[in-house]
Symmetry: C2
Subunit: 161 residues, 2 copies
DNA sequence: CGTAATACCAAACAACCGTTTGTTTTTTGA
DNA sequence: TCAAAAAACAAACGGTTGTTTGGTATTACG
């Protein structure tokens, strides 16, 4: 709280005029982060027409936000609802609401029902994990997103070259 | 440190006879966790002969350790090297050493070079993410591991039912 | 203009944190 | 058996933490 106060040019106590507690501030930042990512994803998805193009656009936007807007994204990805018992329900709701976008995008692909859930969890898990191994020098976020999506599109055992 | 002392029946200061600092203790737990997971993975991999069976066995063992032996696994998965600057090199080395197993297992599949890296990162990212959404009621760890691996084996756009 | 809401300051509170120091108990081995 | 090494205790250290309280500028508005 003292670090945040210094960064905003306030004294620590002044924060409590705006937020009831540290946890409440955390939730506000989390919500803002989710909203920023969701906003961008929604925008780029709307610009595409085929189910696959829409999913790809979502993955690229998701990862670009995760790796660029890193302060908010760090909170959204690394803070798990169970880390903040006092707000876990609220955080879970925000996360579920966001991930529903990918549920719908994947459902549009026409996969068998049983595979949809794992496709979503695999995709989001792999994308989010990129935040921990990404280094600015290597592949650009958009390329990484497409690389991960390609792993789900082209079978592992095919195409021995 | 006080919680750990209580759990081990010691006073807080006594821990410092065994470990130089809190970070040193963290590294020791991390190393022990990696060793436990790696040991089990190595054992089950050795029992399989084909490249694909070996990779599948590794995924199942990895996830079973992650979801069952949850105290050590929690440390190994959630603590990132950059979280502990004083020990980040040591943690990175441990993690790289473990993940090299998957690098080799995937290389044995005969994928084109360019795809191997993303296949590994996608697979490990998706498996590790399961730790945050897994709930004891649902699919068993082994089934989840196979479900995730199936996402990389069967193309996304195929098999409309 | 003046008053009331808004925003922030100044200072402290109590609890908690990782760690150190000197001492005592327990275990080991010659 | 008895000295030495190992292990744990007892108590505190200085610093950090989230938060509260009462006062003070600043702004908005009837």
């Amino acid at each position: 709280m003292r670090d945040i106060a210094r960064a905003t040019g306030m004294l620590p106590g002044s924060i409590y005029y705006h937020f009831a507690s540290k946890d409440a501030l955390l939730v506000a930042v989390y919500a803002e982060g989710v909203q920023r990512i969701a906003g961008r994803v929604d925008r780029v998805v709307a610009a595409q027409t085929t189910p696959l193009k829409r999913l790809e656009a979502a993955c690229v936007a998701h990862l670009e936000m995760l790796l660029a807007d890193s302060d908010y994204a760090q909170v959204v990805v690394r803070v798990l609802p169970q880390d903040v018992p006092a707000a876990s329900a609220r955080l879970t709701a925000l996360r579920d609401d966001y991930e529903a976008r990918f549920r719908r995008l994947i459902a549009a692909l026409g996969l068998p029902r049983a595979r949809r859930r794992y496709a979503r969890l695999t995709l989001l898990g792999a994308l989010n994990a990129a935040q921990s191994w990404y280094r600015p020098g290597g592949d650009a976020p958009a390329r990484i997103a497409r690389g991960i999506l390609a792993c789900l599109r082209e079978p592992l055992e095919a195409a021995k070259r």
